[in-house]
Amino acid sequence: MPAKGYVEILVDTCKGCGLCVANCPTQCLALKQDDTNVYGYHYSYMSEPEKCIACMNCAVMCPDSVITVYKKKS
């Protein structure tokens, strides 16, 4: 079954604070431990995209507004 939603993260503006990861109810986000962005932060990415429920918690918590949330049209 395709995911209910997905998020797009602006990799080079993400500061890797991890608030989106900590507040994701389905743990579909993670910090990229083996890569960094131009500023040297471990940026956030969708590690398990099929779990996303488009609840927007990650985007609401993101202090740098790097997350855009998309929801499947019903």
């Binding site: 604070c17 918690n57 202090p63 740098d64 997350i67 929801k71």
Partner: protein
């Protein structure tokens, strides 16, 4: 965008594309975002004037795409008073930290509230001087370690942490006071509703609006952003209770 999906949340257009200079996980960014979302939703971008403080949020005018004015340290309330009196049809807010509003600017703040100046105070209270390297602020909690209180804040030496919202609530000129936080998604959404209420009260012209935000400082508190959010729940919120303290008609 993928086929069959629609955007349900994105960065508000009232925030500029500049990269914020705040430390990772700082609630300043979250508050900028929700306040600017509100300005966008209420269609107030052309009517809003903000006043920046001195402190971490000194460059807030680089991020908020509304008219902004920088004030001398602590004097944002005085500048906002002038702007609102000269341009009474504008929405005016001052965005201040605890070093600015509760330390050097206490007099301006209290007297602006006492006069009932019709603008919104956004008071970001993280209990520490973030920009200068984590010194003790008037709002530092008892026992909290900072670079100028390495054994923890001592009540005998430094007194108790200042509760600004409780201080201004009894003043006649104040129409609306509330304390919110940005530590969980639910609290961020609540904060946005409180800001909305405050702006509606400003449009009715019945008195000062004062909203305190219990914020964090991962760099100054020497912890990760996620730990700082837990610290807010464990230590800060018990001392700085959240809620609406005063609103018209209640």
């Amino acid at each position: 965008m993928r086929e069959g999906y629609e955007v349900i949340y994105q960065k508000p257009k009232t925030l500029t594309d500049n990269k914020m200079h705040y430390c990772p996980g700082c609630i300043h960014g979250t508050m900028h975002k929700i306040f600017m979302e509100l300005i966008e939703e209420m269609d107030l971008q052309e009517k809003t004037v903000g006043v920046c403080p001195v402190g971490c949020s000194v460059f807030a005018y680089d991020y908020m795409d509304v008219d902004m004015q920088e004030a001398a340290h602590g004097r944002a309330a005085a500048v906002a008073t002038a702007i609102k009196r000269m341009l009474p049809d504008r929405i005016v807010f001052s965005y201040q930290g605890d070093g600015d509003l509760a330390a050097i600017g206490t007099a301006e703040t209290l007297h602006a509230c006492n006069r009932g100046e019709n603008f919104l105070f956004i008071f970001i209270n993280n209990g520490i001087y973030g920009m200068t390297g984590g010194q003790m602020a008037p709002t530092t909690l008892e026992g909290q370690k900072t670079t100028t209180s390495p054994f923890g804040r001592d009540k005998k030496n430094s007194g108790s942490p200042l509760k600004m919202t409780e201080m201004v609530t009894p003043l006649d000129g104040v129409a609306f006071t509330a304390r919110v936080s940005g530590n969980t998604p639910a609290n961020v959404r609540k904060a946005k509703r409180v800001f909305k209420k405050a702006l509606e009260i400003q449009q009715q012209n019945i008195g000062t609006q004062f909203v305190e935000v219990v914020s964090n400082c991962p760099s100054g508190w020497k912890c990760t952003p996620v730990e700082s959010m837990e610290w807010i729940v464990e230590k800060a919120i018990p001392y700085y209770p959240l809620g609406i303290f005063k609103e018209p008609g209640k």
